[in-house]
Subunit: 480 residues, 2 copies
C-alpha cells in the first residue's frame, strides 16, 4: 500500500480546469442570446448521444467539457437568457455562482450547529437581514420567538408549515398516532430518517415497529415475520419495511433476501437504504451486498457520501415508477406542455417532493467520466483496506475492544475502561484538532466510530490517527 495510485484531480489540475470552467461560464453569458431560448430537441435526442455505460478508464477533463458543448447544450432551455419570459425568473448572478462554488469547495455538512458552526450562524444572521429587508414582523427573526431557515423550495416550505400546523392542531398527536392502520418495520439500528418519514407521511410513530438485531447488528428476519403476523392478527395492515445495507452506527447489513421474501409473501413495500455503503457495491467483490434486491421496491444510495460527489446527490431507484408518479403527480395548467402530454418523457418533479430541481446529474457525470469506473474502484477498495488494517491494530491492542469485525470502512471500538474513559478519549482527540471522529451507542455501551472514506485519506492519515489515539490513551491513563 506504500505505492499509492491517485486518480483524484490534484489542486494544480483543479486550478487549470477550474479556470476553463470559469471561462466557459463567462463565455456562455457573453453568448447566451445566440442560443434558441427554448431547447428545440425531441424526446430521446440527448440520451441517444450518451453511451450506455460509463467509461472504465478516466477521461480527460477537456474532453468532458467538449461533450458539454456537443451533447448537453442543445438540450438546454436558457433560463439565464435575458429573453427568458417564461414561468418565473430563476435567476443567478456572478456573486451567487461564486458563493455556490465556494460552498461546493468547502463541502461541509450543515445538519447540526456542531458539524460546521459557521454554516448555521451565517444562515441565522443572513435570514434576519432578509426579514428586515422585506419588512417582516419582528417575531419572524431569530432574536424573537421565530427565525428563518433556507429550504430547497417553496414546496418544501409549505410542506414544513403544514406539518407544524398539523402537530399544533392535534397537540402533537398526529406524529404519534398517524392516520392509518398501516404499519412500518425497520431495525433498531436504522437511520432516524425512517422515523422522521413515518411521522411526515402520517403513518404515526406508534405504527413503527423496531425489529431487534443479531450480534452483527443485522435485522432478525424471524422477529420481523413474527411481528408482521401478530400485527395482521390485530387488524393492522403491514405496508413498509426499511432494510439497511450499512447502518449508521455500525455498518450492520440486514439480510435483504430473507426480508424480501417476507415482504413478497405479505405484499409489503421493501425499501433498501444503502446511503453510505451502497458505494461499496461498485466493487465486484461486494456485489453480494445486493443479493435479494430483486425483491425490493426501492433502493437509495448517496454518491454524496462516499463517491466523491458534492452534496446533494442521492440516487433513488424504484422498480415501478407508475406508482410513484401516481402518488406525487399534480399537473396545473401553468406547467402543461406538449412533451408531457405525449407521455414520451419523464418529468422528474413527479418523482420528488419539491417542484424545482437543479442539474445535479452533471456533477455525477463529471465524476464518473473523470475517474472512470477503475479510478472509483481503486479508491473505494483502498478505503476498505485501510479500515481493515485499522481494525487489526485495535484488535491487537489489549486496551481496546473491537465491537465487531468491520464489514466495510467503519470501525467501531471502545476502551476497556468503559464509557467514561472512552468519552474522555473522544473529547481529547477532537479538541486536539488533528483528527475528528464521533461516537454511537452499541449494546448500551459508548462506542467510537472510525469512519474511513474521505476523498484524500491515505494510509499515513490513518496511521497518524492510530498514533494520536494511543498517545491520548496514555495521557489519560497517566492522569488517573
Amino acid at each position: 500500500m506504500s505505492q499509492l495510485q491517485n486518480y483524484h484531480m490534484t489542486p494544480e489540475e483543479f486550478r487549470r480546469y477550474g479556470r476553463l470552467v470559469i471561462d466557459w461560464i463567462a463565455d456562455y453569458y457573453e453568448n447566451v442570446e445566440s442560443y434558441p431560448v427554448l431547447s428545440q430537441v425531441e424526446p430521446g435526442q440527448i440520451q441517444a448521444m450518451l453511451p450506455l455505460a460509463p467509461p472504465q478508464k478516466g477521461e480527460e477533463f477537456e474532453d468532458i467539457l467538449k461533450d458539454v458543448e456537443r451533447i448537453i447544450m442543445p438540450g438546454i432551455t436558457h433560463w439565464q437568457s435575458p429573453n427568458f419570459f417564461a414561468y418565473f425568473p430563476a435567476n443567478t448572478s456572478g456573486p451567487s455562482i461564486l458563493g455556490d462554488l465556494l460552498a461546493s469547495g468547502l463541502g461541509i455538512q450543515g445538519m447540526l450547529w456542531a458539524t460546521s458552526p459557521a454554516c448555521t450562524e451565517l444562515e441565522t444572521r443572513v435570514l434576519d437581514w432578509m426579514a428586515d429587508l422585506i419588512a417582516l414582523p419582528a417575531k419572524f427573526k431569530s432574536t424573537g420567538s421565530g427565525g428563518g431557515v433556507i429550504q430547497d423550495s417553496a414546496s418544501s416550505a409549505v410542506l414544513t408549515a403544514l406539518l407544524a400546523a398539523r402537530e399544533r392542531a392535534t397537540s402533537f398527536q398526529f406524529n404519534e398516532q398517524g392516520g392509518t392502520n398501516l404499519t412500518v418495520y425497520t431495525s433498531t439500528q436504522a437511520h432516524s430518517s425512517v422515523e422522521k418519514g413515518v411521522k411526515v407521511a402520517g403513518y404515526g410513530r406508534k405504527n413503527l415497529r423496531l425489529i431487534d438485531v443479531d450480534s452483527n447488528f443485522a435485522m432478525r428476519p424471524d422477529l420481523l415475520k413474527q411481528q408482521i403476523e401478530s400485527d395482521i392478527k390485530e387488524g393492522y395492515k403491514p405496508a413498509f419495511v426499511a432494510a439497511t445495507i450499512g447502518t449508521t452506527s455500525s455498518n450492520g447489513i440486514d439480510p435483504i433476501r430473507a426480508i424480501g421474501e417476507i415482504c413478497q409473501r405479505y405484499g409489503i413495500w421493501l425499501h433498501v437504504d444503502a446511503a453510505m455503503a451502497g458505494t461499496a457495491a461498485i466493487l465486484p467483490e461486494y456485489h453480494y451486498l445486493q443479493d435479494g434486491l430483486e425483491l425490493a421496491d426501492s433502493y437509495a444510495f448517496n454518491p454524496h457520501k462516499w463517491m466523491f460527489t458534492n452534496f446533494d446527490c442521492d440516487c433513488f431507484f424504484v422498480a415501478d415508477r407508475e406508482t410513484l408518479i401516481q402518488t406525487l403527480s399534480i399537473l396545473p395548467e401553468y406547467l402543461r406542455n406538449q412533451a408531457t402530454e405525449t407521455g414520451a418523457v419523464f418529468d422528474y418533479r413527479d418523482w420528488q417532493i419539491p417542484l424545482g430541481r437543479r442539474f445535479r446529474s452533471l456533477k455525477l457525470w463529471f465524476v464518473l467520466r473523470s475517474y472512470g469506473v477503475e479510478g472509483l474502484q481503486y479508491h473505494i477498495r483502498q478505503h476498505i483496506q485501510l479500515a481493515q488494517e485499522f481494525a487489526h491494530w485495535i484488535e491487537a491492542d489489549p486496551r481496546f475492544i473491537l465491537v465487531m469485525p468491520p464489514p466495510l470502512n467503519l470501525v467501531c471500538f471502545r476502551h476497556r475502561s468503559g464509557d467514561v474513559f472512552t468519552q474522555r478519549l473522544l473529547k481529547k482527540l477532537n479538541q486536539g484538532g488533528k483528527l475528528y471522529l464521533t461516537h454511537t451507542v452499541l449494546n448500551g455501551l459508548y462506542t467510537l466510530r472510525m469512519s474511513i472514506g474521505q476523498t484524500n485519506t491515505q494510509v499515513h492519515h490513518v496511521a497518524q490517527a492510530w498514533s494520536l489515539i494511543q498517545s491520548a490513551v496514555a495521557e489519560l491513563e497517566a492522569e488517573l
Copy 2:
C-alpha cells in the same frame, strides 16, 4: 430608462473573481490539514463578527473573500480533511465541484423535461449507469418498469418511498382521504405545492378547500370565513390557510390582513407563500404587500427566483420555532453532541425534512454584499417598470386583451381572436427561439404570461419581445 446602471457582475469581472475563488479552493485543499479538523468556536462567536444589517452599497468581491477567511473559516469543521473520520464521508472531488459549478452557471430548472431536456435525459442515463455499476436488478432501470432519480438525501428518498407505499397499500385513497378531520384552505389560484403538501402530510385532498377569488385573482375572505364556519359546523377542525402574495398564474395578491384576522379568530395556522413576489418587498414602495403579516405563522420567499441567487434557496420564516422543532426533531445517539445538549445553538436539521444540508447561506451572503441593498433595489424596480411599460403596450393595442393591470412584474394577456389563436401565437414565438414565454388559464381562457425578471433583461429585450409578438401576430393573421 435609456441610461442603465448595472450592479451585476460582468462576464469579465466573473472571469477575474472566478479565478480568485478557484485558486482559493485549490489553496484550501493544499492546506486543509493545517486547520483544526473540528471547529473550536463557541456558540455565537461567528454571529458576533457579522453586522446586524446588510450593506446599503455593494462591496468589493475581494473584501468578501477576505471575510470568508476571517469570519467563516474559524467556524468550519473540515469535512474535506483527510483526517476527518467522523459521522460518514461527505466527499467532494475536483470533477464534482466543477460539475456543480457548471450547473450553477447554467442555472436551469429541471422540474419538467421541457424546462431543459438535457437535465432529465442525462439524469436518466447516468442513473441507469449507476444501477449497472452497483449491480441493481434490471427492474430499477429506466429501460424497465422503474428508474432512478436524484434526491437531495436518503431522508427524502425514504420519505418518497413511504409515500408511494402508503398509496399502494390504500389503493391511492390516503392521498385523497387523509387521516384526520383537519381542513386546509387556499385559493383556486394557489400553487400546486399546497395540494402536494396536503397529500404528503396526510391531510387528504378531500380536506383541501379551494376558495374562490375576486376579479384581481385574490382570495375572497368572506368566502373563506363562510367555508370555515360551515366546516366547523360539520365537525371538521380548520388547521391551515395558505395565502399567496403573487400567485403563479397572474401574480394575484391575497388580502393578508383580512385572512389573518379570520385565522386568529379560529386559531388557524396562516402560511404566506410569496415565492416569487416576496423579492418586491425589498422596495419600500412595496412594503404594503407585507401588511397583516404579524398575523401569520410562517412566510416563504425564494431568492432563487427573482433575487439573483442560485437554486436552491428558499427563505422560510416561522414565528414560533419551538412548534417546528418539536414537530421535526429526532435525536439519535450518533448525532448527540455537547452544543446541542446545552440548547445554546440552532440545529437546522430540525427545521427541514432532510437531515443533510449544504452551505446555502454563503451564496445569499455573497449576493447581498456584492449588490448591496441599493443594487438589488435598483434592478427589481427596473423589472417592475419594464413590466408596467409592456402592459401599456398591450393595453394600447386593440388586438390584445390585458387580463389585469400587472401588480408587479408579470403581465397576463391574450389575443382577441381567442384560445386557438393565442395558443398558435405562443407556439410560433417559442419555436422561433428568440424568446420564451409560457401560458396559463384565467377565467377559463388561454392566457399568455410575460414574466419579466431575468437577471440581465433590459429594456431592449422587452422591446424586442414586443416586436416579435407583433410580427408573429401579423404572420398568423395573414395565414387566416
